[in-house]
Structure formats: structure tokens, C-alpha cells
Symmetry: C2
């Protein structure tokens, strides 16, 4: 997955990530990757779901990958942490929904 279009989910209010993702998917590439680690994973799914159901009706989940990253603490101890990457893009098919019908093909 590409890096430039990636939104990393942290501890800011959920809507700030939704808006960042919205800006990204409405850009030239028409895609956004939402990425998170550990406990933020559930928030990444929230962002993806809010984005595609409430803001971009013709967006669809292209791919989801999960993996394990090794983090090293300040004391040099290694821990495993799960991560997720959700790739969302503007779909080909124009799902005519009530809110998102303003997009022409």
C-alpha cells in the first residue's frame, strides 16, 4: 500500500480523522489508507465506516490487511502490537444513495 495517502489513527477526536480521510479520498487518486495500531484499531474501523456511510456513498473498502509490528520500548524490551490497514477508494459503480447522489460519472 502507498504511503502518501495514509491517515494514521491516534487519540484525536474521531471526526478529525474522518475529515482528513475525506480530503484525501476526494483528491487526485481517489483513495485513502486508514492505518492504526493496538487499541486504535477499533477507531480505524469507526473512521472507515463513518466515511463510507455518512460522507462518501460511492466509496468502498478495497482491501483490509492485518499484521503484527514489533515495538521496542525505551528499556529495549520488544513487544508485539497488532496493526490494521484499510484501503478505501471511490467505487466504479454509482450506488445511488440518498445523501451521496451528487457525484457524476
Amino acid at each position: 500500500m502507498v504511503n502518501e495517502n495514509t491517515i494514521y489513527i491516534g487519540k484525536k477526536p474521531l471526526m478529525s480523522y474522518v475529515l482528513a480521510a475525506l480530503r484525501q479520498i476526494n483528491g487526485d487518486e481517489g483513495t485513502v489508507v486508514i492505518k492504526a495500531r493496538g487499541k486504535s484499531i477499533s477507531r480505524a474501523v469507526d473512521v472507515a465506516e463513518i466515511l463510507r456511510h455518512q460522507f462518501v456513498q460511492n466509496a468502498s473498502v478495497e482491501d483490509i490487511e492485518i499484521s503484527t509490528e514489533k515495538l521496542t520500548s525505551d528499556e529495549g524490551r520488544e513487544t508485539n502490537v497488532s496493526s490494521i490497514e484499510i484501503l478505501i477508494s471511490l467505487g466504479e459503480d454509482d450506488q445511488a444513495g440518498p445523501a451521496g447522489s451528487g457525484i457524476d460519472n
Copy 2:
């Protein structure tokens, strides 16, 4: 996705879900669906990652779906909650590798 082979992630210790998933994937069908809602979503990813990296080296993630479920509270109020379903199955190819190197792309 099928229902009988589904493990629902709640608040028990992580390892009890890993063991339940292990039992399921080693059964006749060779598949398990790990399902969670809300904050448990990150734990579902943990269970999937521990299962395929530490217990079943030839298991691979076949499919991941995210969705939104409507919950109704006792007072009749509706809230949206994100959910995830992770389908893992025993792969055809026997990835022989040292423990923990089995991250598929």
C-alpha cells in the same frame, strides 16, 4: 460468512479466544471466523494474529469485512457500532518458516 464456526470476542482473557479459534480451525472445516464489535475489534485482530503466527503457521487470512450494526439501548435509543469479521483458514501452501515470520501480503 457461516455462523457455526464463529468465535465472538468479548471480555475474557485473550488466550481463551485463541484456544477456541485453534480448536475450531483444527476441526473438519479448517476455517474459523473471528467476530467483534466496538472496542473489542482490536482484540479480534490480536486473536487472529496470535493464532496464525504462534499456533497455526499455515493459516492465512482469507477475508476481512467491516460493517456497522445498529444497537438499541434499553431506553429505545439507537446507536451505531462498528464490527469486524475475520475469516481464517488453513492455507494450501505450507509456509515453512521460523515462528513469527508468517506475515502474508
